[in-house]
């Protein structure tokens, strides 16, 4: 199976700070080979005999062929696990499993795509941008965050994208506001055919609403709490409407994290919609 994940003990090549984020480059041959844009990996935090039992999911930002294959991860410190990761040094080893999840589907024919990233969510968009450009697509970026130092990858976006629009909630970089404030204008200006988005759930909901308004397809990479990342624990589910019109609680680690935006019931995330398959007392039981 080309896409099947592997577990590797990878040596850390470099660590660096990128504004508000930490970046790690790790030698992980089997993972780099199999990587497609949108894939993620899980990292064991805390070293041997760690008390942290669940792995941390991180998007693959970049892969390079050096040393048989490296992956670059970009992350914000949130709790104990990411705090531990931020202390990792070059030459330390990391236990990584990947590549995981359903990657971004690519359009068959060249078209114009808007890539929308919120906070560290932009990290997954550059490999996607490369793949789209290889297919002859035009790409435009819309990146946003609360403040300037939390906007990830603005320089790279400016180099790669036909246009790049930045937003911050405090106005410290680009336009003051959110990505969804500027997205309709960008879609109209560039006559976008499709939207790709990665970032916080609330942003994905807004981006999807905009794309639906324009009647163009939108692919979103969601983020739900994960314990295993490989599809065995059932903790990472989101309500998604299937081809048959039935809502199911799908695992974002295997059926996602990339979904068609209009299929995700964003308003019902964190609930079991009453009409979902198998909902308590629901009619689909």
């Amino acid at each position: 199976m080309a896409g099947s994940p592997v577990q590797v003990t990878g040596t850390v090549l470099t660590t660096r700070r990128v504004d508000a984020y930490h970046a790690l480059t790790v030698v992980a041959p089997g993972i780099a080979d199999r990587f497609r844009p949108g894939h993620f990996v899980t990292v064991a935090a805390g070293g041997r005999d760690t008390a942290m039992l669940t792995r941390r999911a991180l998007t693959v930002h970049d892969v390079k062929p050096d040393y048989g294959g490296t992956v670059e991860l970009v992350f914000a410190v949130r709790g104990a696990g990411t705090a531990w990761l931020s202390e990792v040094k070059a030459r330390d080893t990391l236990d990584i499993v990947g590549p995981l999840g359903r990657p971004f589907p690519l359009p068959r024919d060249p078209c114009t795509c808007v890539l929308v990233g919120g906070e560290y969510g932009s990290a997954s968009l550059f490999a996607l941008g490369d793949a789209l450009q290889l297919r002859g697509c035009r790409i435009d970026f819309v990146l946003g965050a609360t403040t300037a130092e939390r906007v990830f990858g603005a320089l790279r976006a400016r180099r790669m994208g036909e246009t790049t629009t930045l937003t911050t909630e405090d106005g410290s970089l680009g336009m003051r506001g959110r990505v969804t404030d500027v997205l309709p204008g960008v879609i109209a200006d560039v006559r976008a055919d499709a939207v790709y988005a990665c970032g916080p759930m609330a942003m994905l909901r807004g981006v999807t609403a905009v794309a639906v308004e324009f009647g163009i397809p939108v692919q979103v990479a969601v983020e739900e709490h994960m314990a295993c990342g490989i599809g065995v624990c059932m903790t990472c589910v989101v309500p998604v409407i299937g081809e048959d019109g039935v809502t199911r609680m799908l695992r974002s680690c295997v059926e996602g994290p990339v979904f068609r935006g209009e299929r995700v019931r964003f308003d019902d995330v964190g609930t079991i919609p009453f009409d979902a398959l198998g909902a308590p007392g629901g009619r689909n039981v």
Binding site: Q7, L53, M234, L277, G278
Partner: protein, 313 residues
């Protein structure tokens, strides 16, 4: 019931088997234990369904699953084709549901044993779990025993959240259980201090992982002491071969691995290898010789016990 080796997946921790097969051949498992299968599809609980605690994991998945028909159509045949030995875990809210489920499974090929998840809430008893009461547990076990094929062993899975686990264990055996499994997750809770709300959407959840291992060891110990002839599948926080041996010395003749698989997808085959190495190192020819060995009187040598039941599950 003969298994080629004593390391099983724990119910609800191995997916459908296909997910783990990406990492290792499921035939290498002593047995694959399914998540608890219910009659109808179940959507489970809202998210967040998990929270990490020190050396522990709280979960409230709520038995999400496709229901028995989809299980028989899509999941069991795949496991059978692979040659996996499959233990089907049963979940239900009433005795009638357990009976119906057992009837539905009665003539399905490829079932090595059934495990009765007695931690399910009993809808006819204000949602209190069957496992908290010996007579309720025994009633479920007897109904499954009566409906399932005579040559398919019935394993009763017990909860540690009871005043007297030995009494419940005895009732289950009296009700027809061929073996016992323990422990299911004790109830726990965690509050997100920043949000000042419970960390799980469901409020409380089941605690698993090394945090509960001493609880598992105590339960296995007590039940083995009282019912030395009954095979026990021990589980709760097994992460290494040493942890597996601890439960075996307490009286388990097989161990199941749950949460450890979330951290290490290869946990089951790794733990088996580590356990085999430990047994060889200590000069045990057979696993059965180590089962319950910690019960020997103080002062006796490590191999002092000779009256061990041959309880290869």
């Amino acid at each position: 019931m003969e298994l080629p080796n004593p390391v099983l997946t724990a119910s609800g921790c191995g997916g459908t088997g296909r997910e783990l097969a990406q990492f290792f051949d499921v035939v290498r498992l002593g047995a694959f234990v399914t998540r608890s299968i219910t009659m109808a599809p179940r959507a489970g609980r809202p998210t967040p369904r998990m929270a990490e605690t020190p050396s522990g994991l709280l979960n409230a998945v709520g038995l999400q699953g496709p229901g028995v028909e989809a299980f028989l159509e899509r999941e069991l045949p795949w496991l059978a084709e692979r040659g996996a030995r499959t233990v089907v875990s049963l979940g239900g809210g009433t005795v009638a549901e357990f009976t119906a489920l057992s009837r539905r499974l009665a003539d399905a090929p490829g079932i090595t044993a059934v495990e009765v998840n007695l931690s399910c809430p009993n809808v006819e008893d204000r949602g209190r779990m069957f496992a908290r009461d010996g007579s309720a547990a025994a009633e479920v076990v007897a109904s499954v025993r009566a409906a399932i094929r005579y040559d398919v062993p019935v394993i009763a899975k017990l909860s540690p959240d009871v005043a007297d686990i030995v009494a419940v264990a005895r009732s289950c055996v009296d009700g027809g259980a061929d073996a016992l499994a323990m422990i299911n997750t004790p109830a726990g809770m965690s509050i997100d201090v920043d949000a000042m709300r419970p960390a799980l959407a469901a409020g409380a959840g089941g605690l698993s992982g090394p945090a509960v291992r001493p609880l598992a060891v105590r339960c296995v110990w007590q039940v083995h002491a009282a019912l030395p002839g009954v095979p026990i599948v021990g589980m709760g926080g097994v992460t290494t071969g040493r942890d597996a041996l601890e439960l075996i010395l307490a009286g388990a003749c097989a161990v199941a691995v749950g949460t450890a698989t979330f951290h290490d997808p290869y946990a089951c085959p790794r733990i088996l290898r580590e356990l085999e190495e430990l047994l060889t190192e200590r000069g045990f020819d057979r696993l059965a010789d180590a089962v319950g060995l910690a019960h020997r009187p103080a002062g006796t040598g490590p191999r002092g016990r000779t009256d061990l039941e041959e309880s290869s599950l």
